[in-house]
Symmetry: C2
DNA sequence: GCGACTTGTGCTCTAAGTGAGTATATGTAA
DNA sequence: TTACATATACTCACTTAGAGCACAAGTCGC
């Protein structure tokens, strides 16, 4: 038996286990959250590769090195997301008798980083998950396609119990029937769409596939990542890893909005951010095209010392 | 080459990769948070085992099945925690040319579940992490051993920058110098203790080893788990997975306190929990030994529909 | 039966935080 | 100079959180 690449896993009658790393690398530019993707066959996918135990002392380190080698990017914030190991997540590998277990990572790079080489490119995260962008209000595809599909899925229940369960899930994750839309529940929403066959990955040949279909379960991984980012924003000052060292408050707000997918109240956002001690003004002003020029701010590291969970406890919408 | 057990990983000049699962199984009884441990040599460790790709379709499922086979327990809430893969986390395996990657899970079982068979036993989580229990105020070992050790570690810095960095880390994670103690930062605290050699796992032969030493990095895993539990409590109604179907508000409060490691304000706790619609009274009262008998409450499932993040947004201490 | 004690439960008061605006400042472009 | 656009200050009503008082309803010892 000869190892091809790094064959990890060998098991009597059964399948091999291969451990790989996947990365959701995020950058924001012009109010658009981008994810680094590579072309994988005819579909986009996340950069991923087999973990080499000889090269790295830790998974985090493996992540950084490998991302750098592969794309030339210098990662800022890096955090492990989740380990995906469902049977069937990689049918191709399965056919070759492999079980691919993927440790997914979330990473940020600042706008302005050199463009990645190779076949990698930046893809608008909302091309992949269009229903998550509500900055201009609820997108049409929610009311026109998703809501009706959810309704008929609920109706197709076999009994009362199942019906209640389905209705609850649908309402909760999509903020229907009086429930509040929770920006964080990205994964729940994706999984529901998967279940009712509205995304290409589900294998349904229906015409109504929402968003750009990605390889394997990479959109699911992206959904986890987006949910994590949205949650993290509120209790850790991670946005600043996406911004240049100085920025205007509106810039900051736009980046947050692009990630959260909802518009924020400008004055209150400013109050939270300034009052919360997250930023401090430099005396400089930004050069501007129209309107009153804004002051440039910088992140205040000291805030970490003062407050237990210094995030942008998001102000209400609008 | 013959597989012994499940050899996962085979690689030219290098080490094999073995994927395993570890479980932090939590139950609360008599105001004590217990963790299921197995004896591993002379030290306690978390139950863990190699992942068998042939047996299970998903890691979660593998977790449940395997925990049930191994301990006879029926798990309630189950959640993936983190994947640990640092070089050196399992020196024994390393000597045999293996790299053991462990996917750690957090799980709850209700008090009253049959005691596990085999060599498994319930261990007080605060025997392993004694500095995390502040229900009776800050434990002595913090002021007597940890704080001084941290201080001299800070003093031993090479330059100003390092000193500032160390001081910040110490203050933040331990709530010193005006910072607030954050119950969630369990992992940060453990890692700091590890770094300054106050825990047995660090290999230091010093007399001042705090808490019961566990095998490998299992205490680190436990620390992640405890941090996760504490965080989760505030925004998801997970405590109820640890309680019987009906309970008094004080019982509920005690369970929360035991996990959070801090005393809570009784009246405000009640207000939060009742006012937040998390529970509803049954008309029954609990049989009591002394004092006015309390009403029995049950968890209100409907709260999920009403509020976006129904946790016990902990009331202030005391 | 009565008071001491224990636990449960209702309510108040204050400070701080949030949502939603109005008003004013300070720039650019026609 | 006016129209416009953005930045920034400030207000006000309302909700939530921290802290504590007061009273209710049991048990226990005498």
């Amino acid at each position: 038996m000869i190892a091809v690449g790094v064959v990890i896993g060998w098991h009597d009658g059964g399948v091999d286990v291969v451990l790989e790393l996947s990365a959701v690398i995020v950058a924001v530019r012009n109010d658009v959250p981008y994810v680094l993707t590579v072309q994988s066959g005819d579909k986009p996918g996340l950069p991923s590769g087999v973990f080499d135990p000889d090269a790295d002392r830790s998974l985090d380190q493996a992540m950084r090195r490998w991302a750098n080698e592969r794309t030339g990017l210098q990662l800022g914030f890096v955090e492990q997301l989740y380990t995906f190991g469902d049977f069937g997540r990689d049918p191709l590998a399965a056919r070759q008798g492999e079980r691919r277990i993927s440790v997914a990572y979330l990473a940020f790079v600042r706008d302005g980083e050199p463009l990645p080489e190779l076949d990698a490119m930046w893809t608008n995260a909302y091309d992949l998950l269009p229903w998550e962008d509500r900055r201009l209000g609820e997108p049409e595809l929610v009311s026109q396609q998703i809501a009706p599909a959810l309704a008929s899925w609920v109706d197709a229940s076999l009994d009362r119990d199942q019906r209640d369960g389905r209705a609850l899930r649908a309402d909760l994750s999509w903020g229907l029937a009086g429930a509040t839309w929770d920006p964080v529940r990205v994964l729940e929403r994706y999984e529901l769409l998967f279940e009712i066959g509205l995304v290409g990955e589900a294998g349904t040949s229906a015409a109504a596939k929402l968003g750009t279909t990605a390889t394997l379960d990479h959109r699911r991984i992206l959904a986890s990542a987006l949910g994590r980012v949205r949650g993290k924003l509120t209790y850790r000052p991670v946005v600043f890893e996406l911004l240049p060292s100085t920025f205007t408050l509106l810039q900051l707000q736009r980046v947050v909005e692009s990630l959260v997918g909802e518009p924020l109240h400008k004055q209150n956002f400013r109050r939270l951010v300034e009052g919360g001690g997250l930023v401090e003004g430099t005396a400089q002003r930004a050069e501007t095209s129209s309107g009153r020029p804004a002051e440039l701010f910088r992140f205040r590291r000291e805030v970490l010392r003062e407050r237990p969970a210094p995030g942008l406890g998001l102000p209400g919408r609008r």
